[in-house]
């Protein structure tokens, strides 16, 4: 009887021990939030797992969802496209840093117009999205495109139906360059589109599908979708008065001019960035973590993951049409931000 009980006891103890050992070994990092950086985080996670054996489980549930999850402490890090304000970070005891850079691109569908052929300025683009300009042959568009024949075609605005960081980035830019847009619409992850002929598409793929289908439509998508679907993008007039096409160089140029530590939490807006080569609608995606994490091991592992990805993940980012952070910036993030987290 006694031996039997002892046996059961040892069995139970080994079971418990192996369970705890198991969880200590596989300190899987969990993260949740923005959908915009999802493809690159997953790619990095795969490579990181192959290199170190430690996995990352990232759930693309949207920026607000990411903020909610990190506040509920159900994840090791949260991810958001719209940066959280500095005072709120201090209040919650969190740090914030950018992890990846990308760009939003206006796309259109008119027969006979080639990608990059049409030029547009921020204020005129804003007028199209507020519904102040309703036809493609409007004098304001024609003035930016001398010599081009534009059709007498109704403009259909295609926007994101779901709340998204892409919409935040785009409306952030339009609000910055057009007072009218700022007053009528404002910036946010989902806004009230005033144009009388607007339709919403779900996700970047939804917007891309609608724009490719509806003649005379204009929409905005992440750069990767422009390349993937070979969409007709526009050249944009930037803050230095130059016309630029969207690509990794113009996104990087916008990032290069940014003064990241000018605001607490590095939550600067990169829209309408200075620099002759800067794409005006560039954006960074941010990571949120606690200074005093409840699970120190997981938190340290997450820092290791980002440290590794900043070092080894540049090529992967470029392959997916993102722009990796420059070395100078990642060094600063390591020394000034990572150091604030208790290990």
């Amino acid at each position: 009887m006694n031996t039997k009980r002892n046996f059961v006891k040892t069995l139970a103890m080994t079971a418990i021990a192996s369970l705890t050992m198991g969880s200590a070994l596989a300190a899987d990092i969990t993260g949740a939030g923005a959908s915009f950086p999802y493809p690159i985080y997953v790619k990095w996670a795969e490579a990181y797992k192959a290199a170190t054996g430690n996995g990352l489980n990232y759930q693309s549930i949207g920026s607000s969802g990411g903020i909610r999850q990190i506040k509920a402490k159900t994840v090791t890090f949260g991810a958001t496209d719209a940066p959280v304000a500095g005072d709120e970070l201090t209040k919650d005891g969190m740090i914030q840093f950018p992890a990846i850079i990308g760009g939003t691109v206006p796309v259109l569908n008119i027969d006979g117009i080639k990608p990059g052929e049409l030029r547009i300025s921020g204020p005129v683009l804003a007028d199209m999205f507020t519904g102040a300009i309703t036809k493609w042959n409007d004098a304001k568009i024609a003035a930016l495109n001398p010599g081009k024949k534009l059709p007498d075609l109704e403009i259909t605005v295609v926007h994101r139906a779901d709340g998204s960081g892409t919409t935040f980035n785009f409306t952030d830019y339009l609000s910055a360059v057009s007072k009218d847009f700022n007053d009528k619409v404002g910036k946010g992850a989902s806004v009230k589109w005033p144009a009388a002929t607007s339709v919403g598409g779900k996700g970047n793929e939804g917007v891309a599908a609608n724009v490719t289908r509806i003649k005379g439509s204009i929409g905005y998508v992440e750069y990767a979708y422009v390349k993937k679907n070979n969409m007709i993008f526009m050249q944009m007039l930037n803050a230095d008065g130059k016309y630029v096409a969207p690509d990794d160089k113009t996104f990087a140029s916008a990032a290069a001019g940014a003064d990241w530590f000018s605001v607490p939490g590095m939550g600067i807006s990169m829209v309408n960035a200075k620099g002759a080569d800067s794409w005006p609608i560039s954006t960074a995606s941010f990571i949120l973590m606690y200074k005093e994490p409840t699970d120190k091991a997981a938190s340290a592992e997450a820092l290791k993951f980002f440290d590794w990805s900043f070092k080894n993940g540049k090529k992967m980012a470029e392959d997916l049409d993102y722009v990796p952070l420059p070395d100078k910036l990642t060094d600063q993030i390591r020394s000034r931000v990572f150091s604030q987290i208790q290990k």
Binding site: G65, A161, D162, G186, S190, G200, R213, S217
Partner: protein, 329 residues
């Protein structure tokens, strides 16, 4: 003398055993009863839990806008100004269109399958309807956006607009941009989706009509239509209404397929072609990025959808009861 004693003894033995068995059975019955009762109570509990949690989460919105929330025409996330009217109109209109299109079609399908279909075709047709009912809704959504919408724009919207757009009184229904998306498109895709449901239920209930009733009617010289109208329908009324309600319930709550084709514009639809939203599509689209009042407003919309569905089901029940009473008197 010996015989009876043994038989008595035997009888005593048997009855003892029987008591044991009866006791055991009673115990089994008791537990079975309790367990099944517990399961059913769980359903009730889950339902109550959903309603209560929806209401608690929605409370800030109801508190701010009051009953007006239901008929307010506004959806402005940035200025935190919300109303449910746009989504309610979209939900009810698209579901109504779906039912108007699907119910007669489903009725025809069911009548054909049970009354006039040749026996060799009955099995394959019936199975394919059941298969259609099992297609995931996202497939209907993708089909709707990529295949149906372009065809709908060119071959239905444009002719309808040129034909009926200029008519007085109803002309406004066919105005607006013809880009293949909107309330009507959503209604038609929904009709595709609920058709197999309604048809399958109708077929099943039509089949339970006793053959003797049907054959007697045919024997009296009734046509197929007369048999369906005078014998099958009255006999299966309850089941038919039940099937229609099942379809309506699905149409009201359908999310993905509607999200793909309804156009997702938070504006009051001005015509059948204009894009709109439904409650379910707003929830699907906006939950990920909702915070604060926006978040609780989405719960309030969910609560309203619950109420709408409940009212519809209750109305159907009342209709059945009244019909039963009318038949009884």
């Amino acid at each position: 003398m010996n015989m009876p004693t043994t038989s008595m003894e035997g009888g005593h033995l048997v009855s003892n055993e029987m008591v044991m068995i009866a006791k055991k059975q009673r115990l089994q019955d008791f537990f079975f009863h309790r367990v099944t009762q517990g399961f059913s109570l769980l359903v009730l509990l889950a339902l109550l839990g959903i309603i209560i949690s929806l209401f608690i989460n929605a409370w800030p919105t109801f508190q701010k806008f009051g009953f007006q929330f239901i008929w307010r025409v506004e959806w402005d996330v940035i200025n935190k100004d919300f109303g449910a009217a746009i989504a309610i109109v979209g939900t009810v209109a698209s579901a109504a269109i779906a039912m108007v299109l699907a119910v007669p079609l489903a009725f025809g399908v069911a009548v054909f399958l049970t009354e006039t279909c040749p026996a060799w075709l009955r099995r394959p047709l019936g199975t394919s309807i059941e298969l259609l009912a099992a297609v995931p809704s996202i497939i209907y959504g993708m089909f709707g956006l990529f295949v149906f919408a372009p065809l709908f724009a060119d071959f239905i919207q444009v002719p309808l607009k040129s034909l009926l757009g200029g008519m007085p009184l109803i002309g406004f229904l066919f105005g607006g941009a013809t880009n293949g998306m909107g309330i009507l498109a959503a209604g038609i895709v929904l009709a595709f989706m609920v058709l197999p449901f309604v048809a399958a239920v109708m077929r099943d209930v039509f089949e339970i009509t006793p053959a003797i009733l049907r054959e007697s009617a045919y024997g009296l010289g009734c046509t197929t239509w007369e048999v369906v109208r005078q014998v099958v329908l009255p006999y299966t009324q309850k089941g038919v209404i039940g099937g229609v309600m099942l379809g309506l319930g699905r149409a009201l709550g359908e999310t993905m397929a509607v999200t793909f084709v309804i156009g997702n514009a938070n504006r009051m639809p001005a015509s059948l072609f204009s894009p709109g939203t439904s409650i379910a599509s707003v929830l699907a689209n906006e939950f990920g990025e909702a915070e604060g009042l926006h978040f609780s407003t989405l719960f309030a919309l969910g609560f309203l959808l619950f109420v709408i569905t409940f009212v519809v089901l209750a109305a159907a029940k009342a209709m059945i009861n009244r019909a039963e009473k009318a038949k009884g008197s």
